[in-house]
Structures are given as structure tokens and as C-alpha cells.
């Protein structure tokens, strides 16, 4: 038997341990988790995180995995929402060595593997970069040469998650292009886009329809829906556009 197939199994809650927390931006933290028995994931998948209060009350949220399947730890990006039930605990209270209840990896639909090829067109709004970062990292780790273009909308440069790593990856890889738009404030001398993603920007940045891009869009629901609608309007095949809406908050 050359191939060992895992039997399908129901998704179960398990315990991860926090290896490290990092400030990704002033409003977001990156959590690196060790999950014993982690069977690996596909870039784009998410986990559900569950918190239980002393009185038994439980709150649960979904977070995309930002780490590549090739990495040992599981990285989640958590944006702090002031009125959130879950995110303030994750960003403010959680420390190295703490345990966290989670289940996953979940979702094979919004996922990309190097063998799926490209060209890839990725569109992110804010912390919607997380699952797309997993794809970019996986693409690099797997040595894929599929052309990849990321259009990434952030409020400001300091709110741009993974800015340094994206710069580094793009500068050393001719087939990876990163295009930023900064919607609220721009540093002096900024020559890039400085507005929300709109039809005109997509017409300029998106690969042409003839190239048959495989598109992944992740961010707040309004951004995701306007981008998907605009791309279809530009003639893109709706069946090659995959979306992941965060909803109004994400919690």
C-alpha cells in the first residue's frame, strides 16, 4: 500500500498552545499556535476558535490561517474590534503558553494549492489578507512560478499587515506583484492608489480575462461583493472568482 488514506472524520474541538503573539499592526495581532496532531492545511482554510467563560457561556469565531502549509506553527491574524466578544481577549489577554480551543482546518472551497496553477489574482481588504498570505507563502515555499498579483486595501501604511514580508517576497520574485491602496492616510510622497478599490482600479490591476485568472477575494462583506461584481462586469468568469466574506465585524 503506497498510499495511506486518512479516513474521513468529524471535526472536533482541540487545544492549541500559543507559541508567540506579535503585533502585526496597532490594531491586529498575529498568533502563532502549536496544535498537537495538526494534520496540515491548505492555503486559504480557516479554523474556528471557541472561548468559554467561567459560567459556561461560549463564543466562537472563524479565523483564516495565514501560515503556509509548509510551516510548523499555525498563524492566525486577529483584528481587535472594540465591541467584540472574542477578539479583545485574543489580542489583549492571550500570552505565550496559554491554551486555546479551536477546530480545523475547515473549508476546501476557498483554498489554493500550488498544483492548481495560476495566474492568481488576490484581492484583500484589511485582515482579509490572512488566507491570501497563506497562498502567497505557500506559493513561495512550494517554488511555484504561477504569476501572482495581489491588490491589497488598507487604511494606512501602518495598518498594512505583513507589509515588510510582502515587500521582501515581491522584490525577490519577478512573478509576484503587490499593489497597495491606502484608503485613509498615505505617507509623504506616496504615489500608489489612495482610495477604496473601485471598478477603474480593478480594470487597471486585474489580469485580463483572456489570461483566465483564478481569483480569491477576502475582506469585509461590502468590499468582497463590490469587487466580485466589478470583476464579473469586466468579463471575468464568475466560476473562477472565490470569495470569503468576513461579515460586518468578524468579532
Amino acid at each position: 500500500m503506497a498510499e495511506i488514506r486518512r479516513l474521513p472524520h468529524r471535526l472536533e474541538w482541540r487545544i492549541g498552545e500559543v507559541l508567540e503573539t506579535r503585533h502585526a499592526t496597532p490594531r491586529t495581532k498575529s498568533l502563532l499556535l502549536d496544535v498537537p496532531g495538526w494534520e496540515g492545511h491548505k492555503a486559504g482554510q480557516h479554523v474556528d476558535v471557541r472561548l468559554t467563560a467561567e459560567d459556561g457561556y461560549q463564543a466562537q469565531r472563524s479565523y483564516s490561517i495565514a501560515s503556509a502549509p509548509e510551516e510548523k506553527s499555525v498563524e492566525l491574524v486577529v483584528e481587535r474590534l472594540d465591541d467584540g466578544e472574542v477578539s479583545p481577549y485574543l489580542t489583549d489577554e492571550l500570552r505565550t503558553g496559554d491554551k486555546l480551543e479551536l477546530r480545523g482546518p475547515i473549508g476546501g472551497w476557498f483554498a489554493w494549492e500550488a498544483r492548481d496553477g495560476g495566474p492568481l489574482f488576490l484581492v484583500a481588504g484589511g485582515s482579509g489578507i490572512a488566507p491570501l498570505m497563506a497562498m502567497i507563502r505557500h506559493r513561495a515555499a512550494a517554488g511555484s512560478d504561477a504569476p501572482c498579483r495581489l491588490l491589497y486595501s488598507s487604511r494606512s501604511l501602518e495598518d498594512t499587515i505583513f507589509a515588510g514580508e510582502l515587500d521582501h517576497l515581491a522584490s525577490s520574485d519577478g512573478s509576484l506583484e503587490v499593489v497597495h491602496t491606502l484608503t485613509r492616510s498615505q505617507p509623504p510622497g506616496w504615489t500608489g492608489y489612495a482610495r477604496r478599490i473601485d471598478d477603474e482600479m480593478l480594470a487597471e490591476v486585474a489580469p485580463s480575462n483572456e489570461q483566465g485568472p483564478l481569483t480569491f477575494v477576502c475582506g469585509p462583506t461590502p468590499l468582497v461583493e463590490s469587487v466580485a461584481t466589478a470583476l464579473v462586469g469586466l468579463g471575468h468568469d464568475a466560476g473562477r472568482i472565490k470569495t470569503e466574506r468576513f461579515g460586518p465585524t468578524g468579532g
Binding site: 472551497w109 470569495t243 468576513f246 460586518p248
Partner: protein
Amino acid sequence: MDEHRLDGNATGGVLGEVFVFETTTAEGACDRCGTVAHVGQQMAYISDIGTVLRCASCDNALIRIVQNPRGYFLDLRGVRYLRFGR
């Protein structure tokens, strides 16, 4: 626009508690309009009460799932079938 609308992908957790197969890549046919699509492509509405998966084409409620101390209540009237890949 309903900002609470999510992708069917977001139901992968709760459906994964019931089904042993990966659900977001499963294909289902809407019982109202006949459109066949992957669960991950449909629309999801998730609240403390339960989860509803709706057809992205006609908004028909495909799958409803409610969890309470007595167990899982799964209402599949909105789908003619679900096909799970091997």
C-alpha cells in the same frame, strides 16, 4: 446589501460536526431553482440561533442547522441532493 451575509465556506465548521466529509466542496442542487453549486459558493447566515445556507441564485433556504442541548436539528428540504467528492 446585507452585511451579515457570509460565504457558504463559513458553514464548514458546524457542518463538519455532523458530516464526516468535507462539506464546503460538496455540490448541492437547489430544490427551488435547480442551480447546482458548491456549498462554499452559497450564502450563509450565522447567528446564535443557528445557521442557514441559502442559494446564491434564488435565496432559497437550502440547509438549516440548529444546535441545542438535545442535539443537532438538520433541515435539508431546500436541497435535492448533496454530492460529496471522494
